[in-house]
Symmetry: C2
């Protein structure tokens, strides 16, 4: 018989859920235990510390976005198409991993200095991918020439990262519609 005991991954997933919902400092180990049907102290059979849990969730978020960017770039195509792929990939990551992404975006600053600076570096390199694609589109004349790649990439990522704040899986805007609308918006903002 499967008695369905909890694994380390279960604990990390539940942590992502609670950190996303109530914040890292707003979540206690006893809260987290209750979420899994056990005592707070029992979590230490799976995990070294509370901070360890935050590291695990945030680094998973970083990996997901990095993988998405790599996949988008490998598809190649003109800058406009690459940007569409980046947008679609980002939205996929957000929608399919809402709790991890919310924790990644909002709670990473609660990490200790070491881990935090690594996450910031990962974020910067992800943003760089957008910036390079946009710069390429300006160079080849497909995007408006007065656009600043650095700011435009920040703006588009702002729209993408804010999805976590309003998107609801059961809402009126489904995944395909969201990808289309954001792509239209981003490409319209950049078109010459």
């Amino acid at each position: 018989m499967v008695t369905a005991r909890n694994t380390r991954q279960d604990v990390i997933e539940a942590a992502g859920r609670l950190f996303a919902e109530k914040g890292y400092h707003g979540t206690s180990m006893r809260d987290l235990g209750r979420e899994l049907g056990l005592l707070g102290s029992s979590l230490y059979a799976h995990v070294e510390s509370k901070q360890d849990l935050l590291v695990e969730v945030v680094e998973e978020g970083a990996r997901l976005f990095q993988a998405s960017a790599s996949a988008a770039i490998e598809e190649g195509g003109a800058p406009g198409q690459q940007l569409s792929h980046l947008i679609a990939g980002h939205i996929g990551v957000v929608i399919d991993n809402l709790d991890v992404v919310r924790t990644y975006l909002n709670e990473a600053r609660m990490l200790d200095a070491d881990h935090r600076s690594r996450v910031i570096a990962a974020r910067d390199s992800y943003e760089q991918v957008f910036r390079i694609v946009i710069a390429a589109g300006i160079s080849d004349g497909s995007f408006r020439s007065n656009a600043d790649p650095k700011l435009e990439s920040i703006f588009i990522l702002s729209v993408l990262n804010a999805i976590e704040r309003w998107y609801r899986p059961t809402g009126a805007v489904n995944r395909d519609r969201l990808v289309d609308e954001v792509s239209d918006f981003g490409l319209a903002a950049l078109r010459r």
Copy 2:
């Protein structure tokens, strides 16, 4: 001589600063006391509770944005101009009240249900102003006809609200440049 003792407003301002930086649950009353050069217990001469402080800061944020929207609409003009005014006003509020805005945007969810729902209502009515202006621009033909006012307003507000996350007063992007760039971006995204 004035020995500059602390007033209720000083406490609220310091709270905004710390809540913005470390989050509501990441800030203790003793932290806040230290920020003002006194003991945590001394704060209760000025304030009823920690929650009270959060309410004060968040509601100030809500007031600032509401006032900005009212001022922008009073200026009138074509939808494109009105949207520019809304954008400029929003950026002004963010830049001139960074800590209050960061607390308003990130910590409002830590409010008790009553206050939180009032803040959400205020946010919705602020977003409505953007939506109405965008809808007017679509109707009169100045904005692209396939734009959805609801989503476009969310997208533009996403860019505006994310400014808090990357803008630094001492950075390369100053206020005027920021207003220009965001206006260009938003209007380009909407132009037919």
